[in-house]
């Protein structure tokens, strides 16, 4: 019967083109506006590493001085080099990484390519590549031994490899970073987690890192630090071991809740130990948020993206109310047709389904048009100055969601009119003829 109802819907919609177009346009504009803003929200709030985000935890300690505790009772957002190195040595997680963003001058040593400045450098420890499932084209990352020895090695992005060497087959070649030569041991494929979850101190929706060097090596070859650095006491070298400055990120991978609980207990014990040793002043104040919790805590999704989404959904609601009115008019004008069908054996349920299918067809066509409008809307978003602008594209789930939203919205809009339509008293309609 659904095929029959679809045919009837097509006839009915052709019967009054103006009314049909009005309904489709109302649905399309509502869906188009909603999907534009929902797509932006979807991109910005997506899980950047869904296959293991539930196993990645961000580590926070509180080595600050007692003074100012009322102004800042929270643990630090970043890690000191000393704490990071201590936690790394303890190896209490399945994997752990200490890192920070950086910048460096690169000399390709090619006459046709002048030295250039790279501000997408990551100074990190070895587990980074394993923990974050970084895709390699050739080669691998380095080892913990390389971290310890500050080996002169690096991993580069495909884009940097092609820029400097014109190829990705570059294992063993040297790359001059600042004034030192680093040996290329791996080339990674295009990799741009959105958001840039592992370091929210640099561009949250940036293009991703292009050069990876061991943290110890980076410090030795004078790779510059990028990101936030907070210090709370006198110091001479903010990047020295033991300096009272937070400037690194520490992530740990733990594959069970029990391990996460044990790790948090370990952090408390570590803080106590530091206090007893006179290195910490405050009582243990630790946090171990999961990846998604960390993103929420840092409010990575801009407030205006949420606001725009609510406004667009409100607009959709207005469009739906209009569609309800138009469908109601359309269905009740067909009371005689409905009366005849009822007289010929259609049950109320049959009429209800028939009318709902018609509403669904309006929704589907509105969805197609809404999709075009959403594409147009996203094109406009991509031309905005926001850092996330170029990410605003419809993916397969959002494409499906567009049609689902359009059809569900129009079915909802069709419920009341279809209900009223199926309540038509056939006798009254036929008598009125």
């Amino acid at each position: 019967m659904i095929g029959y109802y679809l045919g009837l819907a097509a006839r009915s919609l052709r019967r009054n083109v103006v009314l049909t177009v009005l309904m489709i346009v109302a649905i399309a504009f509502g869906v188009g506006a909603s999907m534009t803003t929902l797509t932006v929200l979807h991109v910005l709030s997506a899980d950047p590493i869904p296959q293991k985000s539930d196993r990645l935890f961000y580590v926070q300690l509180d080595p600050k001085k007692q003074r100012g505790i009322h102004e800042d009772p929270d643990p630090n957002r970043q890690m000191t080099l000393l704490d990071g190195q201590n936690l790394l040595k303890a190896k209490k997680g399945d994997h752990q990484v200490l890192m920070t963003g950086g910048n460096a001058g690169i000399d390709a040593q090619r006459p046709d390519l002048p030295p250039f400045f790279l501000d997408d450098v990551r100074m990190t420890t070895a587990d980074f590549f394993t923990m974050f499932d970084v895709p390699f084209i050739v080669g691998t990352g380095w080892t913990a031994a390389d971290d310890d020895a500050a080996t002169r090695v690096c991993v580069i992005s495909k884009a940097l490899a092609e820029k400097v060497y014109g190829s990705t087959n570059v294992i063993g070649k040297t790359l001059r970073v600042e004034k030192d030569d680093l040996r290329v041991i791996g080339v990674i494929d295009n990799w741009r987690p959105v958001p840039h979850f592992y370091d929210l101190n640099t561009d949250t929706y940036g293009k991703g890192d292009e050069l990876f060097v061991p943290l110890s090596t980076g410090i030795q070859v004078n790779v510059g630090h990028s990101g936030t650095m907070n210090c709370w006491d006198d110091h001479t070298d903010s990047q020295a071991v033991g300096a009272p400055c937070e400037w690194l990120q520490y992530w740990v991978e733990l594959d069970s809740k029990d391990k996460a609980k044990a790790y948090k207990d370990y952090l408390v014990a570590y803080s106590l130990e530091q206090k007893r040793a006179g290195k910490y002043e405050r009582d243990p104040n630790v946090r171990l948020p999961g990846l998604m919790e960390w993103l929420r805590f840092n409010q990575v999704v801009p407030d205006d993206a949420r606001l725009q989404t609510w406004i667009a959904l409100g607009f959709l609601l207005v469009c739906l109310v209009n569609t309800v009115g138009l469908l109601l008019t359309k269905f009740l004008r067909r009371s005689t047709d409905i009366g005849v069908r009822r007289a010929l054996g259609a049950s109320k349920r049959s009429i209800f389904v028939q009318l709902l299918v018609e509403a669904g067809v309006v929704g589907f066509v509105g969805g197609v048009l809404g999709l075009l409008l959403a594409w147009l809307g996203l094109w406009a978003v991509r031309h905005q100055p926001a850092t996330y602008a170029d990410l605003a594209r419809l993916d397969a789930p959002m494409l499906f969601a567009t049609f689902a939203l359009a059809v569900v919205a129009s079915l909802l809009a069709g419920l009341l009119p279809a209900w009223r339509g199926c309540q038509v008293t056939p006798a009254a309609q036929l008598r009125s003829q």
Binding site: R342, L344, K348
Partner: protein
């Protein structure tokens, strides 16, 4: 076939209570042709609507082909209406944007017949009313008489036992009216029960039984004569 016992219908508004039918007792047997007559507003159409399961009686009992319809819900009543009853209306009530084939198809769709079965029945029904060659025509392309023939084809395509007709010739000239009546009588001669609501004494005279309704009260008259005499007087 049709058995009504003390069937009443009351229409109520805030201000007025109208008794359209008062304790109507009526039995129509297999193969009968019954005319329902009476002045305008007497309750004829209300009777037809209740008989055709388009309206529910306020009180009383109604059995159609042995089934007590007072106990049925909308779905079962609709199925019974679809299987047992064919409707013919004064204003034909064809669906204007469906061609003849699709118009006759309407009740068959709700019956759940296969495509082949529906096609066979549609072609047979239109053949029977002499319009087999105009399957793809639309109602607006036909004369009033032809439209009523399509309505009859639609009514009989599902093979109902009971045909209910409300002034079936009311919108037709006398020649067409005679043709339509001949067609309905032919269907009746093959065993279909025919109940016609009419003002037309000529049609009433052709019926086997006349039921006269005045102010919601029905009187079973002899075969048409009294009504014809009254009309002639």
């Amino acid at each position: 076939m049709l058995q009504m016992t003390r069937v009443s219908k009351v229409f109520r508004t805030e201000m007025v209570e109208t008794h359209a039918l008062r304790a109507l007792d009526l039995e129509v047997n297999e193969g009968e042709f019954v005319a329902i007559t009476g002045p305008s507003g007497s309750g004829k159409t209300t009777f037809l609507n209740i008989a055709g399961l388009l309206e529910e009686a306020t009180s009383g009992e109604y059995k159609l082909d042995g089934v007590d319809i007072t106990k049925l819900g909308d779905r079962d009543r609709s199925r019974l209406r679809n299987e047992k009853i064919g409707f013919i209306f004064q204003s034909f009530n064809l669906i204007p944007d469906l061609d003849l084939f699709d118009n006759v198809d309407v009740p068959l769709r709700y019956r759940g017949f296969s495509r082949a079965e529906r096609k066979k029945r549609i072609e047979e029904a239109l053949e029977r009313v002499g319009l087999a060659s105009r399957l793809k025509h639309y109602p607006a392309e036909l004369s009033g008489g032809q439209q009523q023939r399509v309505a009859i084809a639609r009514a009989i395509a599902g093979g109902p036992k009971l045909l209910l007709a409300d002034e079936p010739t009311g919108n037709l000239d006398s020649q067409m009216a005679r043709e339509i009546m001949a067609l309905l009588e032919e269907l009746n001669s093959h065993g279909t029960v025919l109940v016609i609501v009419t003002h037309d004494p000529e049609i009433a005279a052709r019926a086997q039984r006349n039921v006269h309704i005045v102010d919601g009260v029905a009187t079973d008259l002899e075969r048409g004569h009294s009504l014809v005499k009254k009309a002639q007087a």
